[in-house]
Symmetry: C2
Subunit: 322 residues, 2 copies
């Protein structure tokens, strides 16, 4: 009996790193995770992951043939095959693709999590068959992976696709990048919390959010309050949708994409965020694009999504060559 070709997908997180073996159809056959423990250095982490992957393959009575390894990581540079100075991990420059080649003698590839998510969506998810779409990850920040003509937009240096850092308000909120008024300072879990404070200051209506100390306040608090009918919490989502909808309208003028695909914790907010976003986007865009662009939730199982995205880095290259 022939072996099943699989790609190992690895996602490096701040706390835990997950990995799994993914076949050509996007089935995650088996998976595992290890603590990232960044202080112990990247070599220790990757050896731990490679050994765990070797065990996964052996556990399957060698029915699986590993053909490549894809990695999603913060500050990843696709062109160089490296992770470069990730602030939250405290590393310097780590040549991941070289480590993969030395361990496996197989092709490796690395990109950031938003780009990996976009490829996962195109190969296995809701963007299957699309040539032009934009993946947006709504978590602590706002990441994006942009697909044009069926391939990722990396730009001259591998760092393209930073929709989270377009300026949506001159002199607006300070952003983690040190600049002011970036989209992600308004549209993200962190942005939603800041919006709650903005609106508590601006409005006088009562709200359960006024009972929570700002440092303890979470985006989940805002969501749950909105679901219970809290007017101020509902306004927070409308405010967020105004910034997101306008930014999407501008992005449509540039790319004319088939869809925006949303993933990440805050994307779970669903209609309360995306209905007003859609309205603002349609009102704000050039007429020629009206009613052409879909807003879609990710088509990938949240538990596998990061692994599928990383594995898609390799499967996209294989499929592209068929």
């Amino acid at each position: 009996m022939g072996k099943i070709n699989v790609v190992a997908g690895i996602d490096i997180g701040g706390t835990n790193s997950v990995f799994g073996l993914v076949d050509a159809n996007g089935n995650c056959i088996t998976q595992g995770q290890v603590p990232t423990e960044p202080a112990q250095g990247p070599d220790t982490l990757f050896i731990k992951i490679f050994n765990a992957i070797d065990n996964l393959i052996n556990d399957n009575d060698s029915e699986l043939e590993l053909i490549g390894v894809g990695v999603g990581a913060p500050n990843a540079n696709y062109y160089n095959g490296t992770i470069e100075n990730p602030v939250n991990l405290g590393w310097g420059i780590v040549n991941v693709v070289k480590m993969i080649y030395e361990h496996y003698n197989l092709p490796g590839a690395i990109t950031n999590d938003a780009n990996a998510a976009a490829l996962g969506e195109m190969e296995f998810g809701v963007a299957k068959g699309m040539k032009n779409f934009i993946e947006i990850t709504l978590g602590t920040g706002l990441g994006s992976g942009i697909i044009v003509n069926g391939d990722l937009v990396y730009g001259q240096d591998g760092f393209a696709g930073e929709l989270g850092h377009i300026t949506v308000k001159q002199g607006g909120r300070i952003c983690g990048c040190g600049r002011f008024g970036c989209l992600e300072s308004y549209v993200s879990a962190t942005g939603l919390k800041r919006t709650a404070l903005t609106l508590m200051a601006k409005m006088t209506i009562n709200s359960s959010l006024r009972l929570i100390a700002p440092r303890a306040l979470t985006s989940k608090n805002v969501f749950e309050a909105a679901m219970l009918g809290d007017e101020l919490a509902k306004e927070c989502f409308k405010y967020t949708a105004t910034f997101l909808g306008r930014a999407l309208a501008d992005t449509v003028a540039i790319f004319s994409p088939e869809a925006f695909v949303f993933t990440g914790g805050m994307a779970k907010a669903g209609d309360i965020l995306f209905e007003p976003t859609k309205s603002v986007m349609e009102e704000s865009m050039l007429q020629v694009f009206n009613n052409k662009v879909k807003l879609l939730p990710s088509g990938l199982n949240a538990g596998d999504a990061a692994i599928l995205g990383s594995a898609a880095l390799i499967w996209h290259e294989k499929h592209g060559k068929v």
Copy 2:
């Protein structure tokens, strides 16, 4: 002796249409022009142009072998091969690629002038060898042609690349598209004239521009006054540069391009526009992109540029296949 392969490049303008025969190296061997006379309809115009091209070929003792026809035109749709409802020509939908095929039995292609300019620059101009750059045409409006991974960004419907219609000021100037605050309402020849009025209202300093009736005022007046040291006119360019520089910084975050290439009448303003634009762009952008992105003037001879761009539509496909 072997014949020289040439592509016919045609540029449809509101008043005149120009055409020429372009070899693989971007030499415009011969060219001509006819009045567009839009009221007589597209069939009349294209027959007139095709006949003139036939004459150009015959004039060269049949040493030239025509291998395709590329067209630049307003409201062109590359995917459909059509011009679609161009307001300034008063036509409906015109299937140009079909007309080319019926007359010549050769491949044809059509796109808008900014996209054609981008291809011309990549094949024959200052962007030779670049895989990621953005062409910006500064004329009455602001057009753009975006190259990603060596190909134009057309999006799902052929209408991508409308950088002129990203919103740079909420509730700002009304734009020709009916929306408010579009980049081209600030950054274009028309935008510069409007800025002169804005600053005449805002400032009290004397200026030669105050002697010209607003309807008679041209962007050339503003440029010439600035060159003579008129402070208000110089401020007009700084004001323009602020909007342009910020928009470029956002565009860099999205595309990480190697360069922006500027063409069109207002691009001739040179340093007085592009020095402050570069400063604002560098100050406004994410640090990771600082000092990586060039602002370049077009590398094509202004007299041939439109013809070379249109011809590049076909040469790009031929070269891409080599």
